[in-house]
Symmetry: C2
DNA sequence: CCCTGATAAAGTGTGTACACTTTTTGCGGT
DNA sequence: ACCGCAAAAAGTGTACACACTTTATCAGGG
């Protein structure tokens, strides 16, 4: 049992997921079953199963007899996703404020302070992005409701590639940190309603900022590389 | 093109879905690929694909090399689902209050009044349940955010079979109608925050009531028939 | 009688073949 | 050149076969 009961379909699915989140597979790219099969050294059957799962998760789109393609996020859909995520994170933090244990609050504070330090020392922006993701995750998980956590994280994953863009947008990191300050203050003050409003505004603002950034750079979202860098079009 | 591009896997998936929502397949029931294949007159391949999709949707659970079973909702999971749904519906109505068109508000009022009439005339409780579902759906869709709507309805679908139980719980229908009154008032008054609170309380209460009902009747959720009736155990 | 373990039965995971659909290619007419 | 259209190529959907895993069956020892 060397492979921990991971079926080949699982392996393929995880690999494709990584390539999408990592940016090797960009939105709009076509996934052809035969190629993937030979690339991963398996038959088309497990590849097909992986694709089915990914389609169900919304990471790729699929129609009968048509090639599967990595999900294309047009601007309005992306805004909707950010808005929905803002509401979900708001709902989660509303519960988390009264439910997080002292240990969980401490871990949250640690993450926040590590991010502050990274920002002050001019550390690696990608590392800062990871800390930002961890910050949101820690808050969401604090609500102790698996259904809500899963739903929220599922949405968060979908916008993750786009959320990271902040690392290249001027002034965005500083603003991000300020927002996090306000959120963490509300949580420690036990003001659930304020925490909800802060995180809602914060996540909505991220979406808006991304839209402005894309519009300003006259670059379609298709040219926007999920890693947070623009594809073959240096600033 | 008589079958509207429905692949056989789609057909099988829809059939299984109907059987789950309809109650022919109860939570805990095992789905065996071979049987289903011969029952639907197809090979195991499309059945397998349907099962993969249903598993991804959370309607059934599946582990490597193990039979797929209709998702079992233990009490704590069910409470979590209701809580998460309460939050999502709250988020949706918060947006809907300012976004619903007059036509949409009118349709909502129509549904509400039809429900009131049904209740007053001692109409078919199942019809009342349908109206209740439509009421929630109309509100959620009023937020005009596809991502949020899809997410909420997906959760709502999962608890739908349990939500219907109200039709057999004494006094529950009347209470339900009163709650809806309060919600619709808040919406028409344009008080988004109040609407959110009302629907949150309402949906949470539905979950609690279901739990009490199950506990009182000393019947495990496994014996609880999704159609809203207890299986071979008359009251 | 109840374990325990071996063995058989049942069931899932994947490779492969092929029918059917979509997309591409290429050719003749305008 | 530009269309339309037919034929080929590419690709998806499904059936089927078989290896491997899990579950059920059963015989013998405590």
């Amino acid at each position: 049992m060397t492979d921990r009961d991971l079926t080949q379909a699982d392996t393929v699915r995880l690999a494709i997921e990584r390539e999408i989140f990592g940016g090797q597979l960009a939105p709009g790219d076509a996934l052809e079953e035969g190629r993937l099969a030979s690339r991963f050294g398996v038959s088309r059957t497990p590849v097909r199963e992986a694709i089915t799962q990914l389609a169900q998760a919304g990471l790729i789109t699929k129609r009968a007899h048509k090639r599967a393609v990595v999900a294309q996020l047009d601007p309005s859909t992306m805004l909707e996703l950010f808005e929905a995520l803002a509401e979900l994170e708001g709902a989660a933090v509303f519960l988390s404020t009264s439910r997080m244990s002292e240990a969980e609050k401490g871990a949250l504070k640690d993450i926040h302070e590590a991010a502050a330090e990274n920002l002050g020392n001019g550390g690696d922006p990608n590392e800062y992005a990871d800390l930002g993701f961890a910050f949101h995750q820690q808050i969401v998980r604090g609500c102790h409701n698996t259904a809500l956590i899963d739903t929220t994280e599922w949405l968060a994953l979908r916008v993750l590639p786009y959320r990271r863009f902040q690392v290249v947008a001027p002034g965005r990191l500083q603003r991000n940190q300020t927002d996090h300050d306000a959120i963490i203050s509300a949580i420690f003050a036990g003001d659930a309603e304020a925490a909800r409003e802060e995180i809602r505004r914060h996540t909505l603002e991220q979406g808006d900022a991304l839209m402005r950034f894309i519009a300003l750079n006259k670059t379609s979202h298709a040219d926007f590389h999920p890693n947070g860098l623009i594809k073959e079009q240096p600033l």
